[in-house]
Symmetry: C2
Subunit: 207 residues, 2 copies
Amino acid sequence: MTTRATSRSGTSRSGRRPGNSGTREAIIEAARQRFSEVGFDKASVRSIAAKAGVDSALVHHYFGTKQDLFVAAVAIPIDPTPVLRHIAGTPLDRLGEGLIRNILGAWDSPAGVGLVAAFRSVVGGGDPALIRTFLLDIALRGVRERVDSPPGSGLERVTAVATQMLGILVMRKIVELEPIASMSHDDLVRVFAPTLQRYLTGTLTSP
Amino acid sequence: MTTRATSRSGTSRSGRRPGNSGTREAIIEAARQRFSEVGFDKASVRSIAAKAGVDSALVHHYFGTKQDLFVAAVAIPIDPTPVLRHIAGTPLDRLGEGLIRNILGAWDSPAGVGLVAAFRSVVGGGDPALIRTFLLDIALRGVRERVDSPPGSGLERVTAVATQMLGILVMRKIVELEPIASMSHDDLVRVFAPTLQRYLTGTLTSP
């Protein structure tokens, strides 16, 4: 994540490297601890800055928004913002297909290798609180609000989606099980989009 | 797997511990290599015995069948045979529910802790060839033959099932994402059994 954070900061500072890498590391470490302890919403930038012994303004200067800081802290090698924006613009009745196409686009991009590595380290013994926070407070939040019908069902809907997408990721990228590993995006949409669409907008009570 | 293998052998030998643990370890190591290199079917007990420098009869004496040897070699802490027998006895039109109930029963049993640990080590950097072999040649083989309609579709059907079940396992046991982590088996059946049933016997072409 150091690379990513440096590049972000570097861009805003005309390519110069930030001077105090110890401070950056202290902020990252404080952010990891706070996000893990209290989750995304309750971990204020102010409390993270205090824990790192720096001013809040310095945190924003180095990392941008709180979401940017989270992405850097948990070493997610892809900026989820454009993916989430695409998904937010997909009509509800085509959200199943929209989700799988956008997520596959990220995984199967060159940066997806890093995404798989990050996931491996979490499953292999990393901090599950951070991946929960990423899923609930960043990746799934917008969709959850849109599919909360009947009211209160949104969380069950989006976590069901997460199980299916995660299973595809693990089988395709880690277990490398055929035909899942080599299927085209169109074929994956054919098999899995109806599942996601039911989780999002279908009935989840027994038939 | 040492514990499990010892207990199997110990039972057949009135509780005495086997004398030559070096031989047992050599067989296990040879089995792991052969299964990983050529898969379950092509890894004959004879070739494993030869690699370990022992007689085939000794392999059977210590470990039982080839499937038993595989389970010991990949450190699967649950004997899949009773689970597979239950699943084989479930009618095709209720196979989705039958699969999820039987697999949840294994994961949520006391031995399921070891199952999760074994999975973690594979995902964290273990040998994916072994988990593929387990899935294709042991766990999914019987079901694949039953759902191969139209002919040739069986592999896509059972691997789709595997993605959904694996995603539930990871979310429930490793990421511990709520409500998936605490849902009752009945609730998991309500949400996920229709998905599995479609993968197994439904249409997988676009609607």
